[in-house]
Amino acid sequence: MKVLKTIALGIIVPIAIFILWFWATETGRVATSLLPTLSMVKKAFIDMTSSGQLQKDLLISIQRVLKGFLFAALLGIALGTIMGMFSPIRAMLEPFITTIRQIPMIAWFPLIVLWFGIGEISKVIIIVLAAFFPVLVNTLSGVIQTPEGYLEVAKLYKLSKFKTFTKLYLPHAIPQILVGLKLGLSVSWMAVVAAELVAATSGIGFRMNDARSMMRSDKVIICMLVIGIVGILMDKIVSLLFGYLTPWQKVGQKK
């Protein structure tokens, strides 16, 4: 019952928007070039999927995200751990990273386009830049918050630095690393769309901009919806990974 109630409350706002939308377009109060009717959107969706164009664009964008994100994740986890375990390295890098982090991802565009052009590589670099920092910062904080008491246990059993990493720092940091990965994945999805909007010849962001230039607001809306849905799915996948990687937290919650 409680679940049903939560769902019911959750869909009130979307339904209201759809009713408003329906009313505004069907009665001709808003020009369909600005806001298409629901049936136009549906038709555009069928057109785009039956021609395979939507899937193709989506695949290209997702591939870019995966390339950039995986690289950023590896780099962020590795550097975050090293910084967490060795305080001189942390002292050396932290001020620099904190400064760089203040630059919005979009502000990197001009320089990266100048250096790498508008090809694949520049998009992947943008994604790496966007996803790297959330992963790094969260890994670092997970590692440095490892309780002193646990480290004393490692000392007691004379664990090597590497064993201390695999048996203590890493498992302790995993929940927070996953938070970082979740954030990183969501910003890299945003980054790829932004990059494709600005400079690209393929991908979901490009398709959206292309549709805009042809005044196809129906297609723009389809792209937006798809971007949102893919974003949610990515988030859910990382959450699933979370439960799988931290079985001890699940039993803790049950109690």
């Binding site: 008491g149 646990y150 004393e152 246990v153 000392k155 007691l156 059993y157 004379k158 064993k163 048996k167 203590l168 498992p171 302790h172 995993i174 931290t246 079985p247 001890w248 039993v251 803790g252 109690k255």
Partner: protein, 262 residues
Amino acid sequence: MAEANEDYIIKVEHLNKHFKVDKEELEVLRDINLEIKEGEFITIVGHSGCGKSTLLKIICGLVSYEDGEVIRNGHKVVGPGPNCGMVFQDHRLLPWLKIKDNVGFGLDHLTKEEKAITVQNHIDLVGLHGFENSYPSQLSGGMSQRAAIARGLANNPNILLLDEPFGALDALTRIQMQKEILRIQKEQKTTMVMVTHDIDEAIVLGNRIVVMSARPGEIKEIIKVSSAARKRNSIDFSQVKKKIYEYLFEESEQEIETDYII
């Protein structure tokens, strides 16, 4: 040298320890002399902050010392070793490891089969059979402490140091755990040194009780406990308890008296 230490498994001589806190020297331990024989159960009581935990950590090798000499198993202590286990107050089981992996934490040098057998033996020893695959969060405080004791003993050390291991347990569980640790000590013949702030616990468990004064920690007295006195509610028990009370609270009682005079 080795001959002289043969009788004593742990020997502390003229140990002094200072900590630097905010650039100020803090004297934690002053001239500690303590000799512990193999198979003994020593309890150390004192006010909180008297340095008793520090003393234990120095014997264990977790805290370094500069002034004095600490000998364990005939060698100067320079760091932790497999022949000396330690149990902490906050059990310090790693939440991401199952109980069997926590117990086997320091056993990486064994083969898989040897490790499994050793782990099982020690889980059985502390009465945790059936909880091998549980996570620490699923265990009660007493059970967690049992697991921590199993981990401390898994390496078959001849010394087990216990730092207020039952301090966070409720009164009934604590008494039960005291019985358990006595049984384990009888079975394993491990030399045990336990820090506690529970005077009853110190008497019930200790062959000898080391009474320490507040900061800087000094040994005020080492009290031998007869087996008669180790029974709760016996007259001998009360006498020992009274004696410890006097050592621990002589200063504060004087203060109270002066208060009344004023």
